[in-house]
Every structure is written in C-alpha cells, then in structure tokens.
C-alpha cells in the first residue's frame, strides 16, 4: 500500500453557498464517506485547515512572513490516504460526495517513498 496526500483546494468555501438544510446533508454524507474509508483502512487522516496562516519565505538573506493566500484558491483541508496505486487513490477520491456540492479540486500526490530509506 502506498501513501497519498490529498490536498482539498477550493475558491471561497463552497459549503457557505449551501442552505443550512443542505449543509446538514453535506456533513452527513461526507462524514459517512470519511468514516467508511477510515474503517476500510484507506483513510489515515482527514483534517480541515484554518483559513489563516502565514507564508514564511527567505528573501535576500532575511525571513519574510507574508500573506499565505495570494491566489484565490486555498487549501482548506487534507486527507492522508492509503491505496495500492494512484489509480485506486483517484477512484476513492472520486467517490467523495463533496463534489455534489459545489466546485472542489482535490489534488492527489503520492508521498515519496525511497526503498530502504523510509
């Protein structure tokens, strides 16, 4: 099994455009999805990220704490996934019911694993 980092990206918060009734539906179905993957051992972690933070860069020898969200798109959370390969990871992510509620972009990146070292 390989590990994958799934970055949940979105512009604004698609959930904010839902009515309370739809938000309830959303939390129930996405919650059930995450729970199912946790129970099957595919989901190792699932966390939201605060919409604040900072971007630390070193420029010309000194640190700059800059605004972190210079683009419209932000990373609002992540999943840590276990799957046989990228194909399986991608098909698991396509089942995420959040896609039914607004525009989301989920980026799946295999965690690099160099044989014999990790």
């Amino acid at each position: 099994m390989k590990e994958f980092m799934v970055l949940i990206r979105n512009e604004g918060n698609p959930v904010a455009n839902l009515s309370p009734e739809q938000q309830q539906e959303h939390v129930q179905k996405v919650g059930a999805y995450i729970k199912r993957l946790m129970e099957s051992g595919h989901m190792q972690a699932a966390q939201p990220l605060e919409m604040e933070g900072t971007m630390v860069t070193k420029k010309n020898g000194s640190f700059v704490d800059g605004p972190f969200n210079e683009t419209k798109e932000v990373i609002s959370g992540y999943y840590l996934l276990k799957a046989n390969d990228l194909e399986e990871a991608s098909s698991l992510i396509k089942e995420d019911p959040r896609f039914e509620d607004g525009d989301w972009r989920l980026e799946i990146r295999p965690i690099m694993n160099v044989e014999g070292i990790n």
């Binding site: 904010a16 309370p20 309830q24 939390v27 699932a46």
Partner: protein, 421 residues
C-alpha cells in the same frame, strides 16, 4: 493525526441545522443589540460551517446543540471585543447579564418570540415579513424561499435587504410585546405561511409542505410561551392548521392532483393531527372572542369528524359560514358558503347566490367561481350552461394543475352532452 471517527452511529435530528440556525440568530441578535442583523446571521453561518468541517471528519458530537452554542457564544464574544461593539460588552458586564449568558431553552424561546414580533413589525409589508421569518427564524436560504414562492432568488434577496433595514429587534422587550397589538399580525403571518405551504403545487412540493410545518412550529412558540396567558386566537389558529394538515396527504393523488371531496380516502387522514386540532379547538372555545380562525377551525373539524362525505353535518357548517359572513363579508367566503348551501338546500339557492356574485363582478379572475357554477349547472342537468362556465374557468385560470383538472371537467361535460343528443 485525526482521531478515528467514533464507532457509535449518531444521527442529527431532521432539520437540525435549519432549526438551530433560527434559534442561534435570535439569541445572538439580542447580544449584538443594535448591530445589523446580518452580523448575527454571519456569525451563525460561520458556526455552522465550523460544524460541517469538524463533524464530517470527527463524527457528530454527543451533544451537537451544545457544541454549536459553545462555538457561537465564543464567536459572539470575539465580535463584542471589537472596538465597534465594546460598549455593548460593557453594558452587558454592568448589568451582570454576563453570568447568565447562555442558551437556556427559556432564553431561546423568549428570543425567538422577540424576533418573530420584530419580523412582523407593522411597518414591514406582508411579503417581506414572511420572507424575513423564513430566512431568519426558520433558516431557509433565499433560493429555497424563492422556490416556495415561485419567484427568483434575486427578488427574495431584495426583499431581505429591505426587510433587514426595518428590523428593530433591539427595541423589543418581552414587556413591550405584551403591550402591543401586533400579536394579530404575528398570527396572520403564521397563517399566510401555512397557506403558502398548504396550497399544493407540483413544483417543490417538499419545500412547501415544510412551510406548513414551520408555521405550526412558530404558532406553538407563540401559544405556549409562558407570557401568553390563554391566547384564544392562537389556539384557534393551531387547531385550524392541525385539522387542515391532517388531510394534507390524502387529498393529493399519485399524479399530484387534488382529489375531489368524494374521492378522498378518509382512512388516510392523520388521526393524531385531528386529535391535536380538536384539543386546541376546545381550548380556543374557552375564549370569549369569535375569530375567523375559530370559525375556519370549526368548519374543518366538521369535515374531519364526519365518517363519510354523506354524513357531513352541512347544517352546522352552514351556520358557521353565516357567522363568518357576519364577521367579515368577503366574496370568497360567499363562494365557499354557496357550496355548503347547495348541500343543505339544493342547487337552486346556491346558483342564485353565485350568479349574484358573478353579476356584481366579484371574483372575476377566480376560476373557482366559474368552476363551481359549472358544477351546479351540471348537477341540475343544464349542460350548455355548465360548458360555458367551465370554459370561462379555463380562460381565467392561472394555475397549471387546476387547468388539467378543468380540462377534464370540460371534456366530461362535452361528452355527456353529445351522448344526450
């Protein structure tokens, strides 16, 4: 690492988010005093978003309402610490209210009542009142309200902008509510809300049934508030809504068409709702005031308790209509009374009454007037006149579902007239 989701399956109560939205806005708006109502709405929206984020990953907490209230309370205090609202926080500390800041059931009920009266401020038009109630107290989105009212989201948003400006929640104390006469307005809004949901429509039927249920929920908030000592009108309204709602499902067939009275399966009526309706009717009759609600509830009750259509006590119903006319002489009441008149005294006097309404130019645009006249003519065998009136009904009818029904009526009448030739 995220904690594993708890093993016990927890389900949120139906409409939990929506109902809690309304409760939280009412309470938060009080703490924010004169701040715009949008600030309270935004805070509550943020709280629900936080709940979505956490609960989907960690499961529903043991006490979801407690989770929401703790979160929204913290968010409210954070806002109050801002320079702009510091005076509100100071006032609160001075009045020692801070110790009791919480979300007790009593407090929520009080605040929802205050919010209801604020939404029904006499300076706010009826349409806007209903829109405010649905958005702020019931937690519907603008899009959902638009679907229920057959209009677009933009119109609803405009109404909300207009309405929010006129909301004067900060000025209302429970004592001041007691002194105002606006309970009538509040009850009327609830009644309108119920009717919005009750008049069946093909489109978004679910949302509209919800409106009726919300109306009942709001009426209970008013009637059962400890401050309201025997609100006869309120009991009458609740009775009316329960009795009508008890027949809600049974009156619609599989194709979502409204059934004619004789075709309704009475065994499908909701017995529990009928009992609730009758209990409130008894309560309402203890008052000394005869209201439109009381009369309508009485009429509805007679239909509900009749074992069959043939055994309906039309005499008593006619008496109630007569009393209603004395209270308010409306053409549409006369129209409905004429149907009862035909059951008691036959088609002749009913036709006289309806033709009088027609010649006075009343209800010119109401297809039900022409439909009823058509029905009575059909009954008395005057097919030509029946057909003429069915046709007029079709011309003025705006409602798609009734058009289908009227077309069927017309076809049948035409068919009968042909076989008779």
């Amino acid at each position: 690492m995220a904690k594993a989701v708890s093993n016990t399956e927890k389900e949120l109560a139906e409409h939990f988010f929506r109902n809690e939205y309304g409760k939280m806005v009412a309470v938060v708006a009080k703490y924010l005093g004169t701040a715009p109502i949008e600030t309270a709405e935004d805070l509550v929206q943020d709280t629900l978003l936080a709940a979505v984020e956490h609960w989907q990953r960690h499961g529903i907490p043991d006490n979801p309402a407690g989770w929401l209230y703790t979160t929204v309370k913290n968010k409210t205090f954070n806002i109050l610490k801002h320079e702009k609202y510091k005076h509100l926080l100071n006032e609160m500390m001075d009045s020692d209210e801070s110790e009791s800041v919480g979300f007790s059931d009593e407090e929520i009920a009080d605040d929802q009542l205050r919010m209801m009266y604020a939404c029904c401020h006499p300076g706010i038009g009826e349409e806007v009142q209903l829109t405010l109630i649905l958005k702020i107290l019931c937690g519907f989105s603008a899009a959902e309200i638009a679907a229920a009212f057959f209009t677009n989201t933009e119109t609803i948003n405009k109404r909300l902008v207009r309405g929010r400006k006129k909301l004067k929640i900060a000025e209302l104390s429970l004592d001041s509510i007691k002194l105002t006469a606006s309970t009538d307005v509040v009850l009327k809004s609830i009644y309108l809300l119920f009717n919005e949901g009750y008049s069946p429509s093909k489109k978004s039927r679910l949302v509209r049934t919800e409106l009726s249920l919300e109306a009942i929920r709001l009426a209970k908030l008013v009637v059962f508030h400890p401050m309201m000592t025997h609100l006869a009108d309120g009991h009458a309204l609740l009775s009316l809504m329960y009795l009508n709602a008890s027949r809600f499902e049974a009156r619609i067939n599989e194709e979502n068409l409204v059934l004619e009275m004789e075709k309704v399966d009475r065994s499908k009526w909701n017995k529990d709702l009928i009992d609730l309706g009758l209990a409130h009717l008894e309560n309402a009759q203890k008052g000394d005031k005869i209201s439109g609600y009381l009369i309508m509830a009485g009429i509805s009750a007679h239909h509900c308790i009749a074992p069959s259509l043939a055994e309906t006590d039309w005499h008593e119903i006619l008496k109630l209509y007569d009393a209603w006319l004395k209270l308010e002489d409306q053409p549409v009441i006369r129209l409905n009374r004429a149907v009862v008149l035909s059951k008691v005294f036959g088609t002749e006097p009913a036709l006289v009454e309806l033709l009088a309404l027609k010649s006075q130019g009343k209800l010119k645009k109401n297809h039900l007037l022409y439909l009823t006249i058509g029905e009575l003519y059909l009954h008395s065998g005057e097919l030509d006149k029946a057909i003429v009136h069915y046709k007029t009904a079709l011309e003025v009818c705006q409602n798609e579902r009734d058009l289908t029904f009227l077309n069927k009526k017309l076809e049948t009448a035409v068919l009968i007239s042909k076989t008779q030739l």
